[in-house]
Each structure stands twice: as C-alpha cells, then as structure tokens.
Symmetry: C2
Subunit: 157 residues, 2 copies
C-alpha cells in the first residue's frame, strides 16, 4: 500500500482514451468519494488519442510504486490490456464481469484493471472495480505461474 | 495466410491449461471440421499445469508465421492474455462476447484470442471464435496505435 505520510489510503492511477474518458471520470469520482486517493493521467475529453500513451503512463506509476493499482478504460479494453501487459512489472486483467475481476486478483495478482466502456455499462463497471480492489491475491500455486510471467519477480505482497 | 504448399488454409494454433483443455478440444475439433488446419500445443487433460508455458508455445508459432492465429484457453483467459501480450509480436485479445472479439480484430489486429472456459459456455465461445477469425483488420488510424505497441512493427497485412 502506498502511503502519503499521513494514513494508508489505496492509491489508484486512472487512464483512458477518448472512448473511455467519460467512464473513467465517473469511476474515479466514485472512488474518490469512497476515500481512495486518485491519480488521473487523462485523457479527459472526446478528442481522438492513442491508448498506448495513457496505458504506459499508468503502468509506470504502478511499476514505480506510486500507485497501488491502475485502471485503464478504452472502447473495448483490448488495446489497453495489450499495451499494459507489454510492461514486465504489470499484470493487467480485462474484465467485463465481477467474477473475472475477482479471479484476476485472486489467481493472477493483477495490478491493473482494463475496462471496455463500449461493452459494459457504468453500474457493471463499478461492481467490477469494487471486486478488483476488494479481492486479495491467494498466492500458493499461483506464485510459480506469476514467476513465469515476470523473470526476477520480487516476492508478492 | 500460412500456406501448406497445396492450398491456402487458415492455420490456427491452440493452447490451454487444465482449466481450458476441454473447451480447447471442442473448439479445435469444430474448426478442423470447418476445414481449418489446427496445431495443438496441449495441454490435453486435467493435470495441473502452468498457463504461461502453453501461451508462449502458441505465441511463438504465430510470431514465426507458422500459424495465422492463436487461441489460448484457461479458466478466465486472464493469465493467458497477460502471458501472450508479453511477446512483442503478439496482440492478444481476451473476449467474453462476440463484439469484443470482432473489435479486437478490426481495431487491434489481434493475432491471438484468449478465452475463459469458466466464464463463457461452449456455444458463446464458438461464436466468439467465429467472429474473431472472420473479421479483417481495418487499418487506417489504428496503424499508428499498433506501432506504439510494437516498435519496429512490420507493415500490417
């Protein structure tokens, strides 16, 4: 957990392309209201941008330990999940349902969540995000598989 | 399209872990019946294995041009999609619905499809796979984004 010197908040870094900007804004607002600390890497409007630019910014924040989790939103979540998983320290799960979000944390220790704003509605996305943040990694047999995803992986929290 | 010296079949490489082996078997059988050439990299039974081993084998076949597409099946598809997207020549889309599968081809030129056997049923998975194989890449504005995913990317077919 990233600390801000005063208390132990979960810090969540958000990024989106133009297809995901509106949903990102709503989700980030909901988490801020719930007491989480938000880092918003944009984009914030409908002007066409390239999803990899925003994915890489969020992943770097998570990889450097400046954020606990990342959330990336584009039209389908596909482009964001490809871009994020290019980073050796990132395990990004694309979830369109609560069960996938839960298992991406429990089994894959995902540290970034990808969402498709043109595939899932806002209420479903809120439940997915809640499930993602609330679920701990199970460890055990999954450690060996994670090590195969990331050579020289540090011990998992 | 990979050619076998006789005709132009679509060649599809399959891989799965123990959670996806049964669905892989059914999907590969359906595609073989439809006239596609199948490469099966296992696993084939319920014995616990590590998904990255099978993801990497399939991705290597696609990256080397030995297969046109890859299909990877695990419990949720999350582990497979993380592993596959580690490979710089692979763009792996995790799809739980036909729309995401279609857009992963049209917008992201995905060359590997990940499926979650514990999330989607066989009929849904068949439709997803059909949509994936049948949809061409649109090119245009998406080329610039793909280039940001893969430095030194060759021209897209």
């Amino acid at each position: 957990m990233v600390t801000n010197g005063m208390d132990n908040k979960t810090v969540i870094a958000f990024g989106a392309d133009h297809g995901g900007a509106a949903l990102k804004h709503r989700l980030a607002g909901a988490l801020a209201e719930a007491g989480h600390e938000i880092q918003d890497f944009g984009t914030d409007g409908p002007t066409s941008v390239d999803y990899p630019d925003f994915a890489y910014a969020v992943c770097e924040a998570v990889a450097l330990g400046r954020a606990d989790f990342g959330v990336l939103v584009c039209g389908t979540g596909i482009g964001m999940s490809i871009a994020a998983n290019r980073h050796p320290a990132i395990r990004c799960g694309l979830a369109h349902d609560v069960t996938t979000a839960r298992l991406s944390r429990a089994h894959n220790n995902a540290n970034v969540l990808a969402l498709g704003a043109r595939i899932v509605g806002e209420e479903v996305a809120r439940d997915i995000l809640h499930s993602f943040i609330a679920t701990p990694y199970e460890g055990g047999r999954h450690d060996r598989r994670l090590a195969k995803l990331t050579p020289n992986l540090e011990p998992q929290p």
